[in-house]
């Protein structure tokens, strides 16, 4: 009796992946998902966690959003940075945030970071890497501060400092140089700021500003932006009298030609008028 047993997860047909491969055979190109081409990182310090992220979202090698928010809310004590496909990181964190809130109501306890980690990794593994979300999950719960990095295929690492995204090598270089256990808050914030800045200036996929999120027991500081490292058209050197940087490109009325105009009058008759009072008390 030939017997084959297989793992008991639900039968998933990856319809979209089949569609993609069939479509490309016929010659249709699948629209490229917007990737965040990012630098995100997190660090454990004496009293909690500091998470950091840049704010550039790219579509290919063109900047799609100069100031997007990559640090997502999971629960009041847990936040998550996301790199990879923008839609995937956004939706995944929202789904887990929603489920975690229901779970917290059910248990009657503050959610734990390990729970969020478990939920995220089980979802990402289920989708076999097709959800392109690389996450840095951090928070403080009843067992102290915890920091995880989560990869698109569903593996996780629990570490004192992590970086993800295209600028992760630049950021990790800074961490490996200056990380110490039990840092103070200001020192940790400066370290994360410098790591993200390394990614912003040395990686083409990252840029614009630095967002920070400091999580301690009972308090969250969502600092957006912590550092506006790049402003449009402003010189970096701090001169006393900046000359006007840009010319004036406003158009006068009538610059856009009106080729033809059609006016359709609507003949309306007033039939009835009623007054409904609003309760504004």
């Amino acid at each position: 009796l030939a017997f084959m047993s297989f793992c008991l997860f639900d039968f998933f047909v990856f319809r979209n992946s089949i569609l993609e491969s069939e479509a490309s055979k016929v010659g249709f190109s699948v629209p490229t998902a917007r990737k965040t081409g990012t630098t995100i990182c997190g660090v454990v310090f004496k009293d909690g966690i500091v998470l950091g992220a840049d704010t550039r979202a790219t579509e290919g090698m063109v900047v799609a959003d100069k100031n997007c928010s990559k640090i997502h809310y999971i629960s009041p004590n847990i936040y998550c940075c996301g790199a990879g496909t923008a839609a995937d990181t956004e939706m995944t964190t929202q789904i887990i945030s929603s489920n975690l809130e229901l779970h917290a109501l059910s248990t009657g306890r503050q959610p734990r970071v390990a729970t969020a980690n478990r939920m995220l990794k089980q979802m990402l593994f289920r989708y076999q890497g097709y959800i392109g979300a690389a996450l840095v999950l951090g928070g403080v719960d009843c067992n102290g501060p915890h920091l995880y990095s989560i990869y698109p295929h569903g593996s996780t690492d629990k570490l004192p400092y992590v970086t993800m995204g295209s600028g992760s090598l630049a950021a990790m270089a800074v961490f490996e140089d200056r990380y110490k256990t039990g840092m103070e808050e200001e020192e940790a914030k400066q370290l994360v700021r410098d790591a993200i800045a390394a990614g912003i200036f040395n990686d083409l996929g990252s840029g614009s500003n630095i967002d920070l999120c400091v999580i301690t027991k009972g308090n969250v500081d969502y600092i957006r932006p912590h550092d506006e490292a790049n402003k449009k058209g402003v010189r970096l050197s701090y001169e006393l009298d900046p000359e006007p940087v840009t010319g004036d490109y406003r158009y006068k009325r009538g610059t856009t030609a009106v080729l033809s105009k059609v006016v359709n009058p609507l003949d309306l008759e007033l039939l009835e008028e009623t007054v409904q009072t609003m309760d504004t008390s």
């Binding site: 030939a2 017997f3 084959m4 047993s5 297989f6 793992c7 997860f9 039968f11 998933f12 047909v13 990856f14 089949i18 081409g37 550039r56 790219t58 090698m61 063109v62 900047v63 100069k66 076999q128 295209s166 912003i200 200036f201 040395n202 990686d203 083409l204 996929g205 990252s206 840029g207 614009s208 490292a229 790049n230 449009k232 058209g233 010189r235 970096l236 050197s237 940087v245 840009t246 010319g247 490109y249 158009y251 006068k252 009538g254 610059t255 856009t256 030609a257």
Partner: protein
């Protein structure tokens, strides 16, 4: 008992087992080209020409250099801007310099902008079947002292323009130049001839905008202003991220 773990990927639409498609032999080729980014721009005025380029040299997601300008001074009245594959840019400029010297020695005069443009076209076409991966734009003064811009494609097709953008952010810059210098899509606007100062300000603004949206453009802007007095250079810092 044979126990096999099967993932959902092994099952097709109908629920039956899919055939295992192994990838087969794949050919990995060495690519002789690389894309090093960079944007160039040239504008011709009544008695001046401006050639501008950013100074960032990149590859993939990394930056090789923040100070690698793409404007090359050929003669006192001609500047060449080239972007694309940096290796070919360097070789091409070396070849042009040598040919300029040869011309000078045999004809006892400096090559004019128009002559350099025509020569560049033949140099590029001579490599029709293994092209120089370079987008060239020549800016300079013609024999009458008027501003001239010549734009090329990688295999040597060229034409004289009033203004042209080339390189990675060219698709972002060209429409803005069409509007501001060519007065396209504008009704009832007086076609004032472009002054040198307005042109320089426009070039700066256009590059600041390009640096916002194109990841390959940034760091600094090098502007070469060609007039009958000579070539003046300006350096403006751009976003470094």
């Amino acid at each position: 008992l044979g126990l096999k773990m099967l993932s959902a990927q092994n099952f097709g639409e109908s629920g039956k087992m899919k055939e295992y498609h192994y990838a087969g032999p794949t050919e990995h080729r060495f690519s002789p080209y690389a894309f090093n980014g960079g944007t160039v721009l040239a504008v011709a005025g009544e008695d001046f020409a401006i050639v501008a380029s950013d100074t960032r040299l990149s590859e993939g997601y990394s930056i090789h250099s923040r100070d690698s300008p793409k404007c090359y001074k050929l003669t006192d009245t001609t500047v060449l801007g080239c972007s694309g594959f940096h290796g070919d840019c360097l070789t091409l400029t070396k070849i042009i310099d040598a040919r300029l010297k040869m011309y000078k020695h045999s004809n006892n005069k400096t090559m004019t902008s128009g002559a350099i443009a025509a020569m560049l076209s033949t140099i590029l076409y001579s490599r029709r079947f293994f092209p120089y991966y370079v987008y060239n734009i020549i800016g300079g003064l013609d024999e009458q002292g008027k501003g001239a811009v010549y734009s090329f494609d990688p295999v040597g097709s060229y034409q004289r323009d009033t203004y042209k953008a080339g390189g990675s952010a060219s698709a972002m810059l060209q429409p803005l130049l069409d509007n501001q210098i060519g007065f396209k899509n504008m009704e009832g606007v007086e076609h004032v001839p472009l002054t040198k100062d307005k042109a320089v300000q426009l070039v700066k603004d256009v590059f600041v905008s390009a640096a916002e949206r194109d990841v390959y453009t940034g760091d600094a802007l090098r502007i070469c202003i060609v007039t009958k007095e000579g070539i003046e250079e300006q350096n403006i810092p751009l976003r470094k991220d």
